[in-house]
């Protein structure tokens, strides 16, 4: 194989273009990964807050008894990043038990998300 002196010390245009294309593809993937990570972190944060709100509300209903709570109630909880609406609905199952449903609603990337939990508690 014989090479000219010019070719020995440089990159060909094709090589540079291929490398640039691969690098661009890689960069796009990496930036997409950043977006995905940000979105995931936000989703994880919202989900954790909503889950905790639902859980603590149900524990309150359980500790006090369903009869101490209004049949339907709603409250708003604001955090640094989002606003959560906690809706409690208590329906009587029998003379002894009630079903407590807690729904936590919030917005994520412009869409409405609802997380709901239920539990059977004493009246």
């Amino acid at each position: 194989m014989k090479y000219s002196k010019k070719r020995i010390f440089g990159f060909s245009l094709v090589e540079v273009m291929i490398a640039a294309a691969i690098l661009a593809m890689g960069s796009i993937s990496v930036f997409q990964l950043f977006t995905f990570t940000t979105r995931s972190t936000r989703a994880i944060y919202n989900n954790s807050v909503a889950l905790n709100l639902a859980r603590t509300t149900l524990e309150q209903v359980e500790a006090l008894g369903a009869s101490k709570f209004p049949a339907q109630s709603a409250s708003e909880v604001k955090t640094d990043r989002n606003v959560f609406t906690v809706e409690t609905n208590i329906s009587k199952l029998s003379k002894i038990f009630s079903q407590a449903d807690v729904a936590v609603k919030y917005k994520e990337s412009g869409r409405d998300v609802k997380l709901s939990l239920s539990m059977i508690v004493y009246n």
Binding site: Y3, R7, I8, F9, F11, S12, V14, E15, I18, A19, I22, L23, G26, S29, V30, L33, F36, T37, S40, A43, I44, N47, S48, L51, A54, R55, L58, E62, L93, S94, K95, I96, F97, Q99, L115, L117, S118, M119, I120, V121, Y122
Partner: protein, 275 residues
Amino acid sequence: MTIKKSIGYFYKFTGARVRFFESAPAGRPKGSSLLVVLGILSVIFIFGFGYANYLNGQVYFLEREKDYEAARLIIKSAFTETLYLLNYDNSEFIKKLQNVSSQGFSKPFDFYQAKVEASKRLMKKIFEKYDNPSLKVWLELIEPVDFKISAAPGEKFARFKLHGQLNAGIIVSRLEYEVIARLSKIVHENRGPAYYIKLTPERVFAVIAKDEFIGSGRYYGICVYTGMDQKQAKKAALANEEFKALLVNPNGSVIVDKALPTGDFCLTFGPAIAR
């Protein structure tokens, strides 16, 4: 040699020259760094996609976390329902307890399976997206103490593990609590025309001083009334549907008997404690 051959083929097809560890002699082509770039990018891609995949998994499980929490709450509901049923409607349970001795007991791992209908309905509603969700609550007898060797006559204690398991496809949740059951024989003492209940501090479920508490709470077992107005206490006990206890004066004379007909026995459960 194999690496050199591979590099040769790589050059043949791509036109890029690659050098790995040996330094290029003078006059020899130094080659392209394309393969090195490709190598670095491969590493970035592998780790990048690996991390993306990991995050995707995290989000997936986070979405399931809500279902796991729902499952846990349903099992807790089932425990509430079980203890209620055992405290208020326990003739079957009492029969089982009576036949148990400390020497040997049969089927200790599944002593009693509770019929938790309300919790099952709730589970079916919440887990309708999963196939065949099932909920099981059972009591496992750990250590019984029978009547003869118990401290007070006519007393039986039994420690139980309260198990709850919800199974709905990929969601499997299990809780384990511990609870102590106390079976007391109600001992009557005849003193003149009225009959009295023999009281020991341990067998008294509640001591109630005010009538309004009688009217608003859930009571079972033996309850002692220490207030002043017995007539009012009786009225309040009769009006409260959840008062299913034997209400007595501190001397043991009966004010009202609303306990369920479970023979001469009185069964009470302590609080269920998570283990």
